[in-house]
Symmetry: C2
Subunit: 326 residues, 2 copies
């Protein structure tokens, strides 16, 4: 059994906990938190420890899955813990991945452990599909669409608007854009042409609704470059209809082959997810298996999904995989 530790017990940590229940070759040793451990109750009654206890448990843990946030937690936490453990994180600030990679790699090489960063679906499975698509169809174009799904960042931005009590924002790909890509038109798409944004907002009783709507629609970076729809609803409606965290999206690769590029091809990879954090957790858990196996083989250093042989993710042996799945 591969012994897993979870660092951070938010949505992602809870998702990892339940994914491990469904993994036949893994066991969960404990959850580590910066909160008072006594205040945290796990779904499966697995023990909760303070972060200061983690180093004592070095020999009881094969892989740590880090479930903190990319803005404030992971840039320090992954680098620190990679000095003692095999670690997996879901660092998703795309622009800062090279820097994070370098920092984590130093720790992992020094400690002779394996780390895998930026694991999930984007970065993660979507990145893989961009890579496979480009490698196989070098004459082509790729497109990534996100949604329909909840953007936590955009929902938070709306909640900070004066007069707003609660909000939920959906990112939605524009149908015409999807059709154009599927038709092989190879369109050049602006931000506005690719995605639209739909907002469900609970306002304070005395709030100026048209002012809230205008503030949202013109908000720089978040909404101003998109066609945005704002619906005002009650807290009751929001709680009833918009409490899930669905997400997903599509990676396309369109390309041509033939001496004169006479044949067209379309690769489409589409995710439709009821729970964004639980799916991300499931990806993290599969890559924890890979980290464990690579460490057992004596490998070390920082890896990404690009570096991991796919067979390492699956519980069955190479022989079984060739027989059943190839």
């Amino acid at each position: 059994m591969i012994k897993i530790g979870i660092v951070g017990y938010g949505n992602l940590g809870k998702g990892v906990e339940s994914a491990i229940v469904h993994s036949s070759d893994m066991t969960l040793v404990g959850v580590f938190t910066r909160r008072n451990p006594k205040s945290v109750h796990t779904y499966t009654d697995v023990p909760v420890y303070g972060m200061d206890e983690i180093y004592k448990m070095k020999d009881q843990i094969d892989v740590l899955i880090l479930c903190g946030g990319s803005a404030n937690d992971l840039p320090k936490q992954t680098v620190e813990l990679a000095q003692y453990f095999n670690v997996i994180d879901s660092f998703d600030t795309h622009a800062k991945i090279p820097e994070h990679f370098e920092n984590v790699n130093k720790s992992s090489e020094k400690s002779q452990h394996v780390s895998i960063i930026s694991v999930g679906w984007d970065p993660g499975l979507f990145s893989l599909n961009r890579l496979y698509g480009q490698a196989i169809l070098p004459n082509g174009k790729d497109y990534t669409f996100w949604g329909k799904g909840v953007s936590q960042g955009h929902s938070d931005a709306i909640r900070r608007v004066e007069g707003v009590l609660d909000a939920r924002q959906y990112t939605i790909p524009v149908d015409e854009a999807l059709e154009s890509v599927r038709n092989g038109d190879n369109p050049s798409l602006t931000t506005r042409q690719k995605h639209m944004r739909e907002c469900f907002v609970v306002a304070k009783p005395d709030a100026d609704l048209s002012k809230i709507e205008m503030t949202i629609k013109t908000m720089p970076h978040y909404f101003d470059e998109y066609d945005t729809t704002v619906h005002f609803i009650t807290q009751e409606e929001l709680d009833k209809n918009h409490k899930g965290i669905p997400h997903g999206g599509i990676v396309f690769r369109t390309g041509t082959t033939g001496l004169n590029n006479e044949n067209k091809h379309l690769v489409e990879y589409k995710l439709t997810l009821d729970s964004n954090p639980e799916f991300t957790s499931s990806v993290l858990v599969a890559y924890a298996r890979a980290a464990y196996r690579m460490y057992q083989q004596g490998q070390c250093g920082c890896k990404t999904v690009f570096d991991i042989p796919p067979a390492y993710l699956h519980v069955e042996s190479g022989e079984e995989l060739r027989k059943k799945l190839l």
Copy 2:
């Protein structure tokens, strides 16, 4: 530059030739044929050699791409050539992959070369998606649909029917089955429920059309388990409308997460290909790059797509890939 040799100059070999033209890091050394080399003319005027000359050119070739058939050529050819070269093949007789793997592995380990077998889209990219899907969503089900596309084997089977001059057969996924999978119904589907078969047949002038139709529709293994439509057309119409070799298909993984499997997820990987052989060739060429790199690192033995780190397929460095694609 990676120096490539092509063995066999049918549709697949021609596809490899043109894919190499579009690969910035590869050069084509020659085509090797069992025919009289003087009778073979390549698109790009690359030299053609008889098979007996291949061993003399050992030091001029980094990777051989074997473009023969799975039934009669590859079981011997890959095993033989793996004793001297790094080789890639597209062996696609699923049931015999384990045996082929063992045989090729012995040759490659002995000669300290790298071989990659069963490369293409199925087996190949579809296999990868079955593997990633199962690894990430262990509680789930996968489905593979083929088409709409031309089945060479079924077209050949029709051509062998008495009174038939020419024929083209399309395999088509049944819409209701696709919708049921996309809806998350987790259906159990019979052969008939998954695919239907559409045949375009050119008959001899005096042939008994209803007898031909009945013979096709009841043909064991090929058609008897499917709903089959037969259209009689002229050779002119066949040549005009059915001379392409399109194909494609979809791999689905549906699965649940959460302690009580309360959240559903759907992964859909879809290929729509104008030219089945040219797309397969493009996959072969990308994996030739991987074989070259693994050999350079001192690896040897037989591999499949399951064993290849995705980054090895792409012309750019790990650093560039992390920056641009992750």
